[in-house]
């Protein structure tokens, strides 16, 4: 029993880092699932008063999308062994994500200045909490971006591989996807 031939392949052909990041993304998805569940549950109560979504968020969304494009550009550079393209893609991605995070904090200040304080209504609280949690995870990606970019500019061969840049890119695309869902929820409810 159970003495059938052994498998020598790694799980689904993935490397260690890929499994780590994909499972991490699953965990983060669960986190956002709970927060959106709580949002949808709480919004049915009488005291709920929706927040006017700052138009700046549309601009921020475009920036996050451009950051994703930068990462895709970088990966295609890595695939073609075009180091210059890889570096340019990484730089574009970094700049746009920094603009995104700055834009989010700007939007908070705008709301706060308009009298939509964090604790004055549950809708406000959820808005700040959800956008902050997302920004926190984007900043986590930014830390990874900083490490990868530093090593790429130093000429680290491992980091110039499409798998490494691609994995970082996957996380950024994922952050864009999460933001897309959250933003859609915020503007439609």
């Amino acid at each position: 029993m159970n003495n059938y031939p052994a498998s020598e392949k790694a799980f689904l052909g993935l490397n260690h880092a890929q499994v780590f990041v994909y499972v991490l993304m699953t965990v983060i998805s669960i986190l956002f699932l709970f927060i959106t569940n709580a949002y949808l549950f709480r919004m049915n109560f009488q005291d709920w008063s929706p927040v006017p979504i700052p138009s700046l968020l549309w601009f921020n969304t475009v920036c996050l999308a451009l950051a994703s494009v930068g990462m895709a550009w970088s990966k295609s550079g890595a695939k073609a062994a075009d180091h210059q393209k890889t570096k340019v893609g990484l730089a574009i991605a970094g700049v746009f994500v920094i603009v995104f995070v700055s834009g989010q904090t700007w939007a908070w200040q705008e709301l706060n200045a308009s009298g939509y304080f964090l604790s004055s209504n549950p809708a406000n609280t959820f808005f700040y909490l959800i956008t902050a949690l997302h920004a926190f995870h984007v900043i986590g990606g930014l830390v990874a971006w900083f490490i990868v970019t530093l090593r790429v500019f130093k000429g680290d061969a491992t980091m110039l591989q499409p798998e490494s840049v691609g994995l970082l890119g996957a996380y950024w695309h994922y952050m864009l996807l999460v933001w897309g869902v959250l933003f859609a929820m915020l503007i439609t409810t």
Partner: protein, 577 residues
């Protein structure tokens, strides 16, 4: 093996440079496992001490003036949280998981040793934050381990005036980050780093259990994290996620409109899988021990794996059985009662398979086997009372009585601890190279086993009498008869004896480390890889120059024609005879 070897078969290894790297900020999974075990046992002893304080108040009310109602609730809260999260979760997954996964799978270390080290230190930090709450003004939170709002964040609650609740929530958040780091490592290692020939269906059952418990944790802890963050907001920023309109002393507080039940859902969506996060590794330990010490292959390996997967899946759709009295749609209650009863099916499959493993086996009455047998009956007893409480109609009158206390202590406190002790006795020789003293082990076992029954069986009866579980004092109530006070005295005396008996284990641990008999390399005759290392205890890198190759499943006992009654996983067919 050369301690400073940096690469094996092209794989770069963590290379400790000195004492700090080797023993403190080590990235070696075995050292990290020991660090987890030591910290978890230390905080677990604190939790046990708190339970003895509670028992003193219940058995001999007013004997200690320092135990007032407030401190009693603080002790209850901290005891529960410490035991469930900081002792059992950490010890099973951080301790046993770290030690056994790489050794049993035939790899050199975890997939990400540095993240593994960070995981331990984050856990250590979470314990420090938790313990710090004992030293802040007004002490730790006394809201009960479930931390239900609104009372958990209001100032009238014991410990509510100070930073106790903030520290508790912060500690939980840090713990969850630590767990996530460790958990991602376990998942990656199990999926990626298995030795050649170690297919998923050749993994020892304990690795399956740890793997699935880790998945449960990774998917369940975010619910607690979200709840904790929102609760901190409600407390610090006076938001109203969970806080309804509240009057205090005739004045309206700033809160309003929130839902305490929302927190209950978030808490129990984590809380019920947490039961299995603790139970599954215990199941795994029992599966290993029962097979080795009965010298027989485990009955129904494939069925055991699928039962585990079923338990892990169903564990996510039973949470609201903790909330029957929170005001629930009867159809919803029916749904959760049904899923609760359904989860008993795969659980019963496991119990039957353990019993059938013992059937006609060559049972060795070693200390680990005694713990296995004790686990089987205790888990069965605790599980049966769970069937009572899973039914809405029976749960409502028994809710929040001592029957519940008796039930969950039997099923998720005593049972896992019995498995834990069995595991510690079983793997101690692998860790230290020495055997524990058998006589001391048996004395410790019998006092613990009989003692815990004397403590928790009477609680079921007290619960049937309707005694509420969280009362500080039972003296002023007409409906509570004198027999309850007598039983409480008896339970307290038993608890003190059982508590003292745990020092036999600690004494045995320490003394055997220096004076225990030298352990043979594979003292129990086990098939799994952790006993097949070149050195015993295994050195840095575990396997010397060559990684093991696996040829068979981990329970090859009594193979016809074999020269020995067991065949290790790394022995090829041609070497059996």
């Amino acid at each position: 093996m050369d301690q400073n070897s940096a690469t094996y078969e092209g794989q770069k290894m963590y290379d400790p440079k000195g004492w700090w790297d080797t023993y403190v900020f080590s990235q070696d999974h075995k050292v990290i496992a020991l660090q987890y075990v030591c910290v978890a046992l230390a905080i677990g002893l604190t939790g046990m001490f708190l339970s003895l304080l509670m028992r003193m108040q219940l058995g001999f009310p007013g004997l200690f003036e320092s135990i007032d109602a407030g401190s009693y609730y603080q002790d209850v809260t901290m005891h529960g949280m410490i035991m469930v999260i900081y002792l059992l979760t950490a010890l099973f997954l951080g301790g046993f998981g770290n030690y056994l996964i790489p050794l049993m799978l035939g790899c050199r270390d975890m997939a990400f040793p540095f993240v593994n080290m960070l995981s331990f230190w984050m856990y250590f930090l979470s314990v420090i934050i938790l313990v710090a709450s004992f030293f802040v003004e007004s002490g730790p939170t006394g809201a009960g381990w479930t931390l239900y709002p609104p009372q958990s964040i209001l100032e009238g609650t014991p410990g509510g005036d100070g930073a106790g609740i903030i520290l508790m929530l912060a500690s939980l958040a840090v713990f969850i980050i630590a767990f996530t780091m460790g958990g991602l490592n376990y998942i990656t290692t199990v999926l990626q780093s298995r030795a050649k020939g170690m297919t998923l269906m050749r993994m020892p059952l304990i690795i399956w259990c740890i793997f699935l418990a880790t998945f449960l944790g990774l998917l369940a802890f975010p619910a607690l994290l979200v709840g904790a963050i929102m609760l901190i907001f409600d407390r610090v920023l006076e938001t109203s996620f969970f806080m309804p309109e509240i009057f205090k002393g005739g004045e309206v507080l700033d809160y309003g409109g929130g839902s305490p039940v929302l927190f209950q859902h978030l808490f129990w969506f984590f809380g019920h899988p947490e039961v299995y996060i603790i139970a599954l590794p215990a199941f795994g330990i029992i599966s290993e021990l029962i097979s080795v010490h009965a010298r027989k292959n485990i009955f129904g390996y494939n069925m055991m794996v699928w039962a585990l997967i079923a338990i892990a899946g169903i564990a996510f759709i039973v949470w609201a059985h903790h909330m029957y009295v929170a005001g629930m749609n009867p159809y919803l209650g029916f749904f959760f009662a049904t899923t609760t009863l359904i989860i008993a099916v795969p659980t019963a499959i496991k119990v039957y398979n353990w019993v059938l493993t013992l059937w006609n086996a060559n049972i060795k009455m070693t200390v680990p086997m005694l713990y296995c047998l004790a686990f089987l009956v205790t888990f069965l007893n605790g599980g049966l009372t769970g069937l009572f409480l899973g039914n809405v109609a029976v749960d409502v009158p028994l809710s929040d009585t001592y029957f519940v206390v008796g039930h969950f202590h039997m099923v998720m406190a005593v049972s896992p601890v019995l498995a834990l002790y069995g595991g510690l006795y079983h793997w101690y020789p692998s860790v230290t190279g020495r055997m524990l003293n058998d006589t001391l082990g048996k004395i410790h076992f019998w006092i613990t086993f009989i003692g815990t029954y004397l403590i928790y069986f009477p609680m079921h009866y007290i619960g049937f009498l309707g005694v509420p579980r969280r009362y500080y004092s039972n003296e002023q109530y007409d409906f509570i008869p004198q027999s309850v006070a007598d039983l409480n005295q008896f339970i307290t005396v038993c608890a003190l004896i059982v508590g003292a008996a745990q020092f036999i284990l600690l004494y045995n641990f320490v003394v055997s480390l220096y004076k225990g008999a030298i352990a043979p390399k594979n003292p129990w005759g086990a098939c799994t890889l952790e006993w097949q290392t070149l050195e015993s205890p295994p050195g840095h890198g575990n396997w010397g120059e060559q990684l093991p190759v696996v040829y068979r499943w981990p329970y090859e006992y009594g193979l016809p024609g074999a020269t020995s009654d067991f065949v290790p996983q790394n022995v090829p067919d041609e070497q059996i005879t």
